[in-house]
Subunit: 338 residues, 2 copies
Amino acid sequence: MGVVVPLEDKSKNTASVKPLVELTKSDMGMVNQLILAKAGSDVEMIPEVANHLISSGGKRLRPMLTLAAANMFGYRGDGHVKLATSVEFMHTATLLHDDVVDESDLRRGKSTARMIWGNQASVLVGDFLLGQAFKMMVEVGSIDALDVLSNAASIIAEGEVLQLSVAKNMETTEDDYLAVIRAKTAALFSAAAEVGPIIAGATKADRDALRSYGTNLGLAFQLVDDVLDYGGSAQDLGKNVGDDFREGKITLPVVLSYRRGNDEARTFWRSAIENGNNDDAALDKALSLIAQSNALTDTIARAEHYGAIARDALAPMADTPAKSALLEVIDFCISRVN
Amino acid sequence: MGVVVPLEDKSKNTASVKPLVELTKSDMGMVNQLILAKAGSDVEMIPEVANHLISSGGKRLRPMLTLAAANMFGYRGDGHVKLATSVEFMHTATLLHDDVVDESDLRRGKSTARMIWGNQASVLVGDFLLGQAFKMMVEVGSIDALDVLSNAASIIAEGEVLQLSVAKNMETTEDDYLAVIRAKTAALFSAAAEVGPIIAGATKADRDALRSYGTNLGLAFQLVDDVLDYGGSAQDLGKNVGDDFREGKITLPVVLSYRRGNDEARTFWRSAIENGNNDDAALDKALSLIAQSNALTDTIARAEHYGAIARDALAPMADTPAKSALLEVIDFCISRVN
């Protein structure tokens, strides 16, 4: 017997980020200008390094969440643009630091900043962007927003350290892995969504709802991202099948495939992830073990679960274009694998 | 479109706690003797109050988890009996204190201890049982087991306080509610399972796996318990449909039904839960709103998700009667609503 988890059927396969893009279009214009302005510096290397990553075609989903969440509660002002820019800078700083920690050569199909300017520049420009992010938050002057975003910054850093401890450890449980992505990915989605109602002066219940929406959307987003690395049509996202595998990253498809595998499969995974035996033949083997163990299907089912929680978090809100755009983003994130 | 979450089909409808009961039968005989011995005291009221609840027909699922988890890793000794008894005492102490905090009249179809002996006796006998639990743990002499169980005790207490803050607050999100049951219910399941491998001297990976199993089993167990309160054939468990409702408890079916409801439904829920308008007519209305909103179906789907994580936590373990009994308990817990 199985349980059918009902989804918002038709909307799903055609779910798009477009309504969110449309809704936030003029605000995002200001965010993009602010990004360029605040990544500027008389120290020439700073804008070079920063713009390399900033201009590399990320979706800027996180700042759009902040803008839409502020819009949802009728915010009229310009603080949301600074907060949204801060959120994107926090994200960019994390990516710069991540690439150093993971020793990554490529991101979104381009050489990473560290390959061009070195590790030191990547670390320091990341720090500079974090500093700029905090300055903008302070300018906005909302202590509650500062509290939420600075808390997220510290949780993200904690998550990075936690990730070091699970890195290349095939005994990582699903709970361990969830703790990592809860900190590394979901915390920023959560803060990005929560500062919207905060700056709009919404109620505590509204803040709680948007925080829960952001957290669970972030979890679903990351799990789908994990799936894309082992299949799906990810080319358009600048990600190649097998990137995570070649970097020896622990992700949920790997955790499930390892745990469900027989002795031979587990020996393979340890050799690939823990000892770096990850050539093309190994990737083929990994893909076949993942398919055998239903690890992708079940990772998607897990993502659906978090998506459902995000949806219920927003359920009580009045029907507005912002609400409907934010709901569609849940389906969009998950539909990337369908 | 929906996603079919596959379950261990046939096993499910016939899933039973019996293999676990059989596996732990002789050890549970010793646990039951120890429970009687350690609930004894020259202070006459102590065994009276303690035995009132102890003899009221709980399933003693938690101590069986400890015994089976120790068995799974080949433990040969008698420390597991003391740890299992400690776990049951921690559970009993929590129930005694809960009934005081919730002002409950009935538990498992009988008058609560506080209705017979008063609140003070219930609080103090709970404290006595906690003290006895700690004494037994210390006798076993495993610092790691002490660490895990004392940590659980403190998390459970924290969860009780957290629950006060969400009590009768209809704006509680699913994440808030999950944080409560993670602390109040799942933490003890988790510790009960983890001390098995600890006392058996198993690896860190085995400890991590059993902790994850216990946590997610506990979450699934509690969510199904929440469902039973609004339906299912719960009479055999000494629980009556509507007990949670009449006590104004926030549980997931209520959270989902409220969030998904229209203005009229939300007004009803606030009146029922926040203002105590919970007579039989209100219960009928609540049941109908819960049905309309698919809140029970979706609470069960959420429970299935945690059950699936628990199952994957145990996946790498060798096939033993203990493993298969522990896996069947997941299906048993969920099948209570089918």
